[in-house]
């Protein structure tokens, strides 16, 4: 028997497109942007569409280049440290911005999201439970 306790409970939208979570992203404490991003527990990284980099004043190609493998093939992305704010928590994380302007989705993956917080998902009720490691 194991028991987990959480500080916050978040109701996410009933959406067949996935578990969509609301986050704020920002760089150097200026120009924050709100976005809805998919939770993707199978993704190694947090990936954002390129336009979000432009909106928080990040020059994509100045980041750490990474070739990322997907079921559909490889794509290029660049890593940058940004601040992610989710619910009542915030932290710094390396996330990747897709090089291709037409890259279609943004996802919250393991590094930078799942390895920063504790979460539990009850998908049939669209509920996400959350607490920080601290």
């Amino acid at each position: 028997m194991h028991t987990l306790t959480f500080d916050e409970r978040i109701k996410y939208p009933d959406d067949k497109q996935g578990i969509n979570l609301e986050v704020n992203i920002l760089k150097d404490a200026i120009n924050p942007i709100s976005a809805i991003v998919k939770l993707d527990t199978g993704s190694t990284f947090c990936i954002f569409q390129r336009v979000y980099a432009d909106l928080i004043d990040i020059e994509v190609e100045k980041g750490e280049k990474e070739i990322i493998r997907s079921a559909k093939g490889n794509f290029t992305a660049y890593g940058h440290e940004i601040t992610i704010r989710f619910s009542n928590l915030e932290w710094e994380a390396i996330v990747y911005f897709a090089q291709d302007e037409s890259f279609p989705v943004s996802v919250l993956g393991r590094n930078g999201f799942l390895n920063k917080i504790d979460i539990a998902v009850i998908d049939y009720e669209q509920l996400l439970y959350l607490k920080s490691h601290a």
């Binding site: 916050e8 939208p13 067949k16 497109q17 996935g18 609301e22 986050v23 704020n24 920002l26 150097d28 404490a29 200026i30 120009n31 924050p32 942007i33 709100s34 976005a35 809805i36 998919k38 993707d40 199978g42 993704s43 190694t44 990284f45 990936i47 569409q49 336009v51 979000y52 432009d54 909106l55 990322i68 493998r69 997907s70 079921a71 440290e81 704010r85 989710f86 619910s87 009542n88 928590l89 915030e90 932290w91 710094e92 279609p104 989705v105 996802v107 993956g109 920063k116 917080i117 920080s132 490691h133 601290a134």
Partner: protein, 202 residues
Amino acid sequence: MMRLQKNRKFYANNTVTKFARFRMNEDIDKRARVNLSYGNSFVNKIEEDEIKWIVSSEELNTVKKFVVDKSIQIPKSFISFVSEITVGIAEGILTHCKENEISAEEFLNGIIEKKKKKVPNIENPSEVRKVAEKLDLNKSLEWLKENRQNHLGKWIILDGNNFIGSGEDPRPFVEKARKDGVKVPFVNFIEVDSESFTGGWL
């Protein structure tokens, strides 16, 4: 009156006064008010024997402008967003300055220098912090639920449930929203419902 004299003596001996000029105004309900010129000219108010730092909105804007103009990265123990510099944050800055016997200007310039040297400015970069204000985009989500079908395949920009614009490029709308004073624009691409998503990248 005794208390007032005590406060006066306290301020005369306080290190803050090295940077400050102040004058007492005794007519406010037995309380003393001190106008304090300190670095960027902050206002300090005394209630009872405690010090309460209060930053006027005008002076707050000076700090904000300074921070934005210089692209300063404020330590996360003080601030989440520049747009959310509050009395509490300013209080944190001032207390830090007071404890270290430096002016607010010196402190802020020090942050700039750290950034130039690319020294990590955040005390615990991996730390997850609690923020005072919980992120709540319910208004934006409600708007999306009602209106998403009209904007399929486009970027939409909202301020809460206020529609700002939609199109193939969100950048001009966001730029305009910020100029109009929107602090945190909501930006989202409206996917076509008929296509499902599968992730799981390596």
